[in-house]
């Protein structure tokens, strides 16, 4: 269909010729606002770090930064996946449980078959996650019920599965000692001083970001979230796309599970409990609209980094770690309020432009 049209219509009557083009101001404006949005998070991040460093210079010590990046890696991967789901005007609350399930599965695999190459272990973890995502996706896409409810249910169900599995397999906890050295080395491994796990997360973010921006199906995810009905009418396979988003998100949650296993190396049935809150928070703070259609995975990644930094920075600032949740909550509110403000300003500017044009 993308072939250029073969017949050129007759020219329009003279008096209907277009007024001179208003130029690219609209887009420029839009892009500026989005940049503002992501720079905002970055600024907040920098500010936080600076303040903390003043309070405790060792905050930027190699070890601490590495720990920070390590902790951020897992949340970032989750946030990347969640972004794909949220832009389609859905949400996946079950990621915490999926992480737990895949982490435990990977651990079990490595205990049962210590010879398993790391790559296989990673793929296995992702597969487990993908299956969970498939379950969510199928229910959401075929039964047409709100993802909030479905994934709330699977949040319970998947967690139940983990502990059921653990208790019936009589392996309640997988300790560092049980895991093969090859896999454990992954946790501490570095490339040019940067933790490998973090590099993995970065790679994931770049991949997802690139996909969402430069592939038709990626753009269609945004379309679906932006106007579901329009998506249907313009022939987008909504069900299939949403399903895909859930599966990919599941697979990434699975990957996060593997990273979790590699990093903490002690796995029990509670791994990843309550993560869903922070994941959604990261996305929202990163400027991903909760009702879909807009937001970038880069923003979400920055959001994840910011949340993690807050977590580690608060004690350094002599603040009770109790403040963390409060800070996260305040941050979410600030973020959505900011988005709203930007959106209104944008709309106002564009309306102004129309008013001028409509004469």
């Amino acid at each position: 269909m993308s072939a250029p049209t073969t017949r050129t219509p007759a020219p329009l009557p003279e008096e209907l010729a277009a007024p001179e083009r208003t130029g690219r101001r609209g887009s420029a404006l839009v892009h500026r606002l989005f940049v503002v949005r992501e720079l905002g998070i970055l600024a907040a991040l920098v500010l936080l770090v600076v303040v903390t460093v003043i309070a405790n210079p060792r905050f930027l010590s190699g070890q601490n930064v590495r720990d920070l990046l390590l902790s951020a890696a897992i949340l970032t991967v989750l946030a990347a996946g969640q972004t794909m789901v949220i832009v389609t005007r859905n949400v996946d609350l079950s990621v915490g449980s999926v992480l737990g399930l895949s982490a435990y599965a990977t651990g079990t695999l490595l205990v049962e078959a210590p010879g398993t190459p790391v790559v296989v272990a990673v793929l296995a973890g992702m597969a487990v996650g993908a299956v969970c995502g498939l379950v969510n996706g199928v229910i959401v896409a075929t039964a047409g019920v709100p993802s909030l409810v479905v994934t709330l249910g699977t949040l319970y169900a998947f967690r139940g599965l983990v502990s059921l599995w653990a208790s019936s397999a009589d392996r309640l906890q997988i300790n560092a000692a049980d895991l093969p050295a090859g896999f454990k080395s992954l946790g501490g491994a570095r490339l040019l001083g940067v933790p490998v796990l973090f590099l993995v997360a970065v790679a994931v973010v770049l991949l997802v970001g690139y996909y969402l921006r430069t592939f038709r199906s990626g753009r269609e995810l945004y379309g679906i979230g932006s106007a579901p009905e329009a998506a249907r009418l313009s022939g987008i396979p909504v069900g299939r796309r949403v399903l895909t988003a859930f599966v990919v998100n599941g697979a990434l949650a699975g990957l996060a599970g593997v990273l979790y296993a590699a990093r903490f190396q002690t796995l029990d049935t509670t791994a990843g409990t309550g993560q869903e809150l922070f994941v959604v928070a990261a996305a929202v703070v990163g400027g991903v609209a909760i009702f879909g259609g807009s937001g970038s995975v880069y923003g979400a990644a920055l959001g994840a980094l910011l949340l993690t930094t807050i977590g580690t920075a608060l004690p350094q600032l002599g603040l009770d770690p109790f403040w963390r949740d409060a800070a996260v909550g305040a941050l979410i509110l600030a973020a959505i309020a900011l988005d709203r403000a930007l959106q209104l300003r944008l709309a106002a500017r564009l309306r102004g432009r129309n008013a001028r044009r409509d004469r």
């Binding site: 405790n56 060792r58 905050f59 010590s61 070890q63 601490n64 720990d67 902790s71 967690r159 139940g160 502990s163 653990a166 208790s167 309640l172 906890q173 300790n175 560092a176 000692a177 946790g187 501490g188 903490f264 190396q265 002690t266 029990d268 049935t269 509670t270 409990t273 977590g311 580690t312 004690p315 350094q316 770690p321």
Partner: protein, 362 residues
């Protein structure tokens, strides 16, 4: 028009709620403030009844094991001990428990046990008071309640099995640390939750003991890992950031010490910062072998569960009533005596080192 009425209706609802709130409040006498209310009506139904040391332990005792949380390795080992004991007295053993360590869900399970008419309830409290009401009902329903590992308000249970005397635990850990850091330098404590009864007692005692025995040893802070692996792991990070001069960490909780050990073994602090505390051999084996940890301590949780079960049986049989001075047989652990406040002490903790750790499997 409808606007005013709308909000008026809602306001009406609001006042309705306020009224309901008053129903709640006025249910008690006016002006109730703190401390003026000593009317304790704890279900001490066991008291009064006299103990018969020679009573037979009835067969088919229904013994229920209710841990803080299901699928927690430590409690699983303890449960195994209890199960063994119950087997020895031909009782019926069952383990129930919530999937999250919260007092409210423990209450729901205690209620279920009451309803099922359990003879003995062995439990470790998520909150010293929150489960009291439920336990009282269970006891008035005829159940004997034995707490272990983490006690409740003494009024709400018949016996508490203490893993070791608080002093014993505190001193062992401080001594172990002192040995490793040469008795001087900054030491931090990585505990479980801040309202975990036993941890707090130990920390108190450790601080006192250290102060008099090792004046150069400074306990700089106590942080809480909430018995969550990840949180403990990160709290350890935080400690080493905040206290560059830190010489050692004491973690009186199995989750905490293994998390801390794992962090140290993977960081530049390995070998430079000493670590000891309470941990299970299986979790710590690797770190003892790789030299991150030289020595740590713990009682044997299996024995703890074992003793708790026998204590419960003794209560149910009427051999004891929980009064101070009474004594009972606890299978191959031998005879135990009830101390003040109905506390039974398991014994001194075991110290695990590279030499003996492989003899244990729990």
């Amino acid at each position: 028009m409808s606007l005013f009425l709308t909000s008026r209706r809602v306001r009406g609802g609001l006042t309705g709620l306020a009224v309901a709130a008053m129903v709640l409040t006025t249910a008690a006498c006016g002006g109730t403030t703190r401390g003026e209310d000593e009317g304790s009506s704890g279900g001490n139904d066991a008291a009064g009844a006299s103990a018969d040391p020679d009573a037979e332990i009835p067969a088919d005792l229904a013994v229920a094991f209710l841990p803080k949380q299901l699928n927690n390795p430590y409690f699983d080992v303890a449960a195994a001990g209890s199960e063994r004991a119950v087997g020895e007295i031909d009782g019926e053993f069952s383990q129930v428990g919530p999937s999250e360590a919260s007092a409210s869900s423990q209450v729901s399970y205690i209620n279920t046990l009451t309803q099922q008419g359990a003879d003995v309830i062995l439990t470790s409290a998520n909150d010293p008071n929150a489960i009291c009401g439920a336990l009282d009902q269970a006891r008035s329903g005829g159940a004997s309640v034995v707490t272990f590992d983490s006690d409740t308000d003494p009024e709400c249970r018949d016996l508490f099995i203490n893993q070791a005397t608080a002093d014993g635990i505190a001193q062992t850990q401080v001594d172990l640390m002192a040995e490793q850091i040469g008795g001087s330098g900054q030491v931090a404590i990585l505990s479980a939750t801040a309202n975990a009864t036993n941890q707090n007692t130990w920390i108190e005692l450790m601080t006192e003991y250290a102060a008099q025995e090792y004046p150069d040893m400074e306990i700089v802070t106590t942080v809480y890992g909430d018995d969550e692996d990840e949180k403990s792991f990160q709290e350890t990070q935080g400690l080493l950031q905040t206290y560059p001069e830190l010489k050692g960490i004491i973690s009186p909780t199995t989750v905490g010490i293994s998390a801390a050990a794992r962090y140290l073994s993977g960081s530049e602090y390995k070998g430079r910062v000493a670590l000891t505390g309470l941990g299970t051999p299986n979790q710590m084996r690797e770190f003892v072998q790789d030299g991150t940890v030289t020595a740590f301590a713990l009682w044997n949780p299996e024995d703890l569960g074992y003793l708790a079960a026998y204590a419960g049986a003794a209560l149910a049989a009427g051999q004891i009533t929980g009064e101070e001075g009474e004594s009972f047989e606890a299978g191959d652990l031998g005879e135990y005596e009830v101390g003040a406040d109905g506390v039974v002490v398991l014994g001194e903790p075991t110290v695990f080192t590279a030499d003996n750790i492989d003899d244990f499997d729990f």
